[in-house]
């Protein structure tokens, strides 16, 4: 079903439909993540992917035309490149350990320590929160700074243009 949606997004020329379809895609992705027991990520996907980004894309659509411009060249070469890269990536996954293999490196490195000691060391039962805010505190600080920088960038770009427009009137 998600594959059908992706093809529909690629084929669809009306950008409004594309935005709606990507919102549906995000909700399906969130359901997949719930099925994988990744509730925190599912919540983020549902609120950010399906909620906020849909609203922002609709806001952007309000400013531009709702129809995609006709492509200026034949899509044969890009298609070949993306199929080639996709095939290479699929070939790469053959070397990965099997899905949910308990002896995979990701499950034997730091994950056992987090799962066994997080409650005792941090007193926080949700291991995801403990890892995010405590064990990987630097990463989350960087992440927050990225969000902040994005906001500052948008303010800097859009506000200046508005002021210039106001001065010209």
């Amino acid at each position: 079903m998600m594959a059908v949606l992706v093809v529909a997004v690629a084929v669809q020329r009306n950008l409004f439909s594309v935005v709606v379809l990507t919102g549906i895609y995000s909700f399906l992705m969130a359901s997949v993540l719930v099925a994988l027991d990744a509730v925190d990520v599912a919540m983020t996907e549902a609120s950010v992917g399906a909620g906020i980004s849909t609203v922002l894309l609709l806001g952007a659509l309000y400013l531009v035309r709702a129809d995609e411009a006709k492509p200026m060249h034949r899509p044969l070469l890009p298609l070949l490149v993306s199929v080639g890269v996709g095939a290479a990536l699929v070939y790469g996954t053959l070397g990965l350990p099997a899905f949910s293999d308990p002896s995979a490196p990701i499950h034997t490195h730091v994950a056992p320590r987090y799962l066994n000691d997080a409650l005792r060391e941090t007193g926080v039962p949700n291991v995801v929160t403990a890892v995010l805010a405590s064990y990987r505190g630097y990463d989350t600080l960087g992440e927050t700074t990225v969000v902040f920088t994005a906001g500052v960038g948008v303010v800097a770009l859009l506000r200046r243009r508005r002021r210039r427009g106001g001065g010209g009137e």
């Binding site: 509730v39 925190d40 599912a42 919540m43 983020t44 609120s47 950010v48 909620g51 906020i52 609203v55 922002l56 806001g59 952007a60 309000y62 400013l63 005792r120 060391e121 941090t122 007193g123 926080v124 039962p125 949700n126 995801v128 929160t129 403990a130 995010l132 805010a133 405590s134 505190g137 630097y138 989350t140 600080l141 992440e143 927050t144 700074t145 969000v147 902040f148 994005a150 906001g151 500052v152 948008v154 303010v155 859009l158 506000r159 508005r162 106001g166």
Partner: protein, 142 residues
């Protein structure tokens, strides 16, 4: 959409519950799914819903631009401030164990404040980006 009665009533009814749910996600994030990022996004979504239904100027009166813009920085500063507090109390940067006499309590306290910082920054940045996009193409004095 300002004149649609159903939308107005539903939006007014919804907003407090959305905000309450955001607080739940924020403060229950240690126990269940959720945390600062998700809570921040939900707060932003509540205000964006209000802005869509009642118009951006109404939302701007509710949450003035100056507050949103300063909150963007305050969130990061709270996060970084937790790190500096750890330094001042004799630990490493972002070391929560020294924030309380009991190391586990220190961890809880550190995580609590860090999550609040994340929520403040995320919610205000999302709001600001939305407001910036939505106000393009309109008269600024509208």
């Amino acid at each position: 959409m300002k004149n649609d009665l159903v939308l107005r009533v539903v939006a007014k009814l919804f907003t407090p519950f959305v905000l309450l749910f955001a607080l739940y996600v924020q403060f229950h994030g240690e126990l269940g799914p959720g945390g600062g990022f998700q809570a921040g996004v939900i707060v932003a979504a509540a205000v964006i819903l209000y802005a869509i239904v009642f118009g951006l100027p109404a939302a701007r009166r509710l949450v003035p631009d100056a507050i949103v813009e300063s909150m963007m920085a305050i969130g990061v500063l709270i996060y970084a401030g937790v790190g500096v507090a750890g330094l001042l109390l004799g630990g490493a940067y972002l070391d929560y164990f020294v924030l309380d006499r009991d190391p586990v309590h220190g961890q809880e306290r550190g995580i609590f404040w860090v999550e609040i910082g994340v929520a403040i920054t995320v919610s205000s940045v999302m709001l600001k980006i939305f407001a910036m996009f939505a106000s393009r193409g309109h008269d600024p004095d509208e």
